[in-house]
């Protein structure tokens, strides 16, 4: 890019602000993602920003049982490796929970009754005793290890299969896709009619749509559910079905959709539409062949809004779909996990990332339509 000395300081401010926004938006997302692919033991002791450095862990392990002892001269010796094949490096060790870091790796610790313990950096240990080892359980060894970073997809495997997140993911898609497409279709027709067709009461319709924008949806939950129950009884189906939630989301999304799309469509150049009318196009032709393609930026931006809103919705899903296992949506599942697995960060971070991955895809695939100037070249 050519930098001009005449560039206004405001430009730099804009760039700095954009950079700042990008950073504060990206960092938590990145953190969530990194956390979700870390080993669960490492995740519980250190933050995600240390993910690439080795982490220090204090662990405890029992040595081999006394029956594996061998007699070497007048000493009874037990040998083994406390890391058991895992990578890492021992820095300190101890024999009691009071002093877990009493000795540096490689040194020999004097225990009671003439016994000694030596732990090497690579995890090899040697227990010696002048008398025979007794009992069935091995000696406890406390140690501090430097463990290299480990990344795994196990967390995802676990949440998708055993925690039921896979099913919820499908449920959420089943709810969200029709609940985004239906209102857009309906609203686009309505917006065209309200913008370009003359009929009595048009102004009243528009005023009513604007009025509906401010109706809080909580107010209508109970009446809607009651009418669903009534209608469901008539047809002998349950009230809590996907059809019900699609209609609910459609209804709650329509006022904003009609309002946004009408504003956009009425801003299209009138001469294009008149020209199409002279060319013999009916209203439906004009809508389908002229208005719809030109309104794509507006359709895309509303689609993003509606998709995110429905995807992240919990209230309507709880009310109109219930929280039984087969209908539970992602947000509901996440809430359940917070209750039952609140301490398991690896479960929560993986679940959270699965929840945001679809909205991210939707946003990035449609965002270019938000900025594209489709009208270039039509009218001067």
């Amino acid at each position: 890019m050519i930098t001009s000395s005449k560039r206004s300081p405001l430009t730099y401010l804009v760039h700095a602000t954009v950079l700042f926004l990008v950073i504060i938006w990206t960092i938590p997302t990145a953190g969530l993602f990194i956390s979700s692919i870390r080993d669960k033991d490492q995740l519980s002791v250190s933050g995600w920003w240390t993910a690439l450095s080795t982490s220090e862990q204090r662990l405890v392990k029992r040595a081999h049982e006394p029956k594996s002892q061998v007699q070497e001269g007048d000493l009874f010796v037990i040998r083994g490796n406390i890391l058991e094949g895992a990578s890492g490096e021992i820095t300190q060790f101890g024999s009691s929970s009071l002093k877990p870091e009493a000795f540096v790796a490689g040194s020999v610790a004097e225990l009671k009754r003439g016994r000694t313990l030596q732990v090497m950096e690579n995890g090899d240990y040697v227990l010696t005793s002048p008398t025979e080892w007794k009992g069935s359980r091995g000696q406890r060894i406390f140690y501090t290890a430097e463990v290299p970073p480990r990344f795994t997809l196990d967390n995802y495997r676990e949440v998708l299969s055993t925690e039921g997140l896979g099913q919820s993911f499908l449920n959420s898609l089943t709810v969200t896709i029709p609940a985004t497409v239906i209102p857009i279709l309906v609203a686009a027709f309505a917006a065209y009619a309200l913008a370009w067709m003359r009929f009595p009461g048009r102004a009243l319709f528009i005023a009513a749509v604007v009025g509906l924008l401010v109706v809080p949806l909580q107010m209508s939950l109970i009446p809607l559910l009651k009418s669903y129950n009534f209608i469901g009884d008539l047809f002998g189906v349950g009230s809590k079905t996907y059809m019900g939630i699609w209609l609910a989301h459609t209804g709650f999304g329509l006022p904003l959709a009609i309002y946004l799309l009408r504003n956009y469509i009425s801003g299209l150049p009138g001469e294009i539409i008149e020209s199409a009318r002279v060319d013999g196009a009916s209203d439906f032709d004009i809508f389908r062949k002229i208005v719809l393609p030109l309104s794509f930026p507006a359709l895309a931006s509303f689609a993003i809004f509606q998709f995110l809103w429905v995807w992240n919705d919990l209230l309507i899903a709880m009310v109109f779909l219930g929280n039984n296992e087969e209908h539970l949506v992602l947000t509901g599942q996440l809430r359940e996990l917070l209750g039952s697995r609140g301490g398991n960060w690896e479960i929560l971070t993986a679940s959270a990332f699965i929840t945001i991955i679809i909205p991210l895809c939707v946003f990035f695939s449609l965002q270019r339509y938000l900025v594209r100037g489709l009208l270039a070249g039509s009218v001067k």
């Binding site: 150049p269 294009i272 393609p293 009218v379």
Partner: protein
């Protein structure tokens, strides 16, 4: 086959504003008619009423002998070219031109034939695959015209098609439209403009509108030589005609008028005896005035208060004693006349115009 006939056509908007008052017009097949007038005179509204985009409040509009007041635009056999081109921005040039035929469910081969014929005529063949945004202003205008041609309409309607083009392109496109008319002698064309040069060069007949009324209908030179009233006289021609108040001294076969400067001018214009000693307006076009050497030869004298040298012509702004407005004289070439000089102006008697107290011409 495609006469357009307007009978007592009126347009009143819902807020009781009368935009067009009693328009009567008979347009013959194959004519190139230009609606011209100042902004707000209703010329575009009249065109849109013919196209069907605007409703007709009262009166009848006939195209091809059929009353079309309530027939939608597409079925009137018209095609319209808009000021802003109104191309479909998401379609290629080919699709733009084919749109109306595809809507009409014409067979693919026929569509292709028509589009290529029109593209050939307008030299657009190389651009058929482009989107409108990749075209220049003149090319976009040609696409808009091409879109009208492929429909093979009975009547072409042009709504100020050149006003978005720059001066050079305007001249070129004007000639293209003239050629287009030449190549389609049977189609009727109605063209709206506020530019009198376009009107004079293109029209078979000009319809001059003002304030919702038709001021005069006629061939371009007819309007120039025999304006029906002061408005037409001043609107056609540049610079505008000089109109000076006067008094009729002697009516009859030859009318004598006294200008305010008390000089008597004899004109070959016939007036009734009853017009004697009435107030009137004397008109003379700047280009008809000739600078003469002595006061005896001329009929207007005054001081030059301003000289504009245009190279091909020189405009003299002459302050004639007793006249409120300056008299403009347009002389060919360059002159050695400076500001402050006294000049004497003369003209040929047949170039004189005389309008009565209501600003209507005596030449009828």
């Amino acid at each position: 086959m495609a006469d357009v006939k307007l009978t007592h056509v009126k347009k009143i908007y819902s807020n009781q504003v009368e935009v067009l008052k009693d328009i009567n017009l008979d347009i013959k097949q194959g004519e190139f008619i230009v609606f011209v007038g100042p902004s707000g005179c209703g010329k575009s509204t009249l065109l849109r009423m013919i196209s069907g985009l605007e409703e007709i409040t009262s009166g009848t509009l006939e195209i091809d002998g059929q009353v079309v007041n309530d027939i939608p635009p597409a079925l009137r056999g018209i095609a319209m070219v808009f000021q802003s081109y109104a191309l479909y921005p998401h379609m290629s040039v080919y699709d733009n031109m084919a749109f109306s035929l595809q809507i009409a469910k014409v067979s693919k081969e026929e569509v292709d034939l028509q589009v290529r014929k029109a593209a050939d005529l307008l030299q657009l063949t190389d651009y058929l695959d482009r989107l409108p945004k990749a075209l220049s202003g003149g090319q976009r205008q040609r696409v808009a015209i091409g879109r009208a041609i492929v429909r093979r309409p009975k009547v072409f309607l042009f709504d100020e098609p050149l006003s978005n083009l720059d001066a050079a392109l305007r001249v070129a496109t004007r000639m293209e439209i003239a050629n287009l008319k030449e190549s389609m002698p049977d189609s009727t064309m109605i063209y709206v403009t506020h530019d009198q040069v376009e009107a004079m060069t293109l029209a078979d007949r000009i319809v001059l509108l003002s304030g919702g009324n038709i001021e005069q209908v006629g061939a371009p030179l007819d309007l120039y030589e025999h304006p029906a009233n002061v408005f037409v006289a001043k609107f056609i021609g540049s610079p505008a005609m000089n109109v000076v108040p006067c008094k009729i001294e002697k009516a009859g076969e030859q009318t004598s008028v006294s200008l305010s400067s008390s000089t008597i001018v004899n004109t070959p214009i016939v007036t009734d005896a009853g017009e004697q000693s009435k107030q009137a307006f004397f008109g003379i076009r700047p280009e008809d005035l000739v600078v003469v050497d002595s006061e005896e030869q001329g009929f207007l004298s005054g001081k030059v208060s301003f000289v504009e040298s245009l190279g091909e012509a020189t405009l003299l702004y002459v302050q004639v004693p007793g006249c409120d407005e300056m008299v403009i004289a347009k002389q060919a070439g360059t002159l050695a006349i400076k500001r402050g000089d006294s000049v004497h102006l003369s003209t040929l008697p047949e170039k004189m115009h005389l309008f009565d107290n209501n600003e209507l011409s005596y030449r009828r």
